[in-house]
Symmetry: C2
Subunit: 146 residues, 2 copies
Amino acid sequence: MITPFDDNYFMRKAFEEAERAYELDEVPVGAVIVVENQIIAKGHNLTEQLNDVTAHAEMQSITAAAEHLGGKYLKKCTLYVTLEPCVMCAGALNWSQISKIVYGAKDERRGALRYEGVFHPTTEIVGGVMAEECSELMKNFFKSKR
Amino acid sequence: MITPFDDNYFMRKAFEEAERAYELDEVPVGAVIVVENQIIAKGHNLTEQLNDVTAHAEMQSITAAAEHLGGKYLKKCTLYVTLEPCVMCAGALNWSQISKIVYGAKDERRGALRYEGVFHPTTEIVGGVMAEECSELMKNFFKSKR
């Protein structure tokens, strides 16, 4: 069976969110949360617009997904995010007990995977989906800032 | 000079926030953020009420303080919180570049101090202020749940 709903499909949706952040002059990171091939939450980085360091794409998606589900645990959900989550987002994802995290580009400076035990032990983590495009978008953003 | 504005004074205020959480049947953690002896933000855990794992006392205080200051960095601020921050909150506090963190009770299970480099390198961290009272409040809460 050929299904359009694979990791690339949903990462493309997260990437579109990242592009929205870029247009707003925000560090271009985007995320979607998916249950049974359905997107239940979307978010993009809004730290500048909201003047709030906690307004990462993942944090907003976690809050929105819990709101949608009517419960704070995201045990059957998958997060697609264009950049490896930071420590804050990893901690939030841990509390949410999310089932799976798929990220695009690796974050060499602030990525949380360097810390053992920060993500939830039962969360499956997959990296590198659309990594090059996600990374390019970030690089272009920071180049435009110089 | 005798000043009423010492760490105990502000931790008492954070403790009052924790008591508010307790009354709402939330894990009793409270926080205040202070600049030049003035409380600019208060928060208490609301994860159950809001159905949102990100609604920790610290996260809400960070957002409220940034809103008050009109900027996302909390470089001249001190956070008082009744419990050692978790990884999520430590990550958020790192992004905020907060000047100082004073916590009450140690969190043996979820405290972030076990991880090297999770807090911001320039953030001063002091623990153990009103530790016993903060810890008692938590213990009473979990005892009442059994």
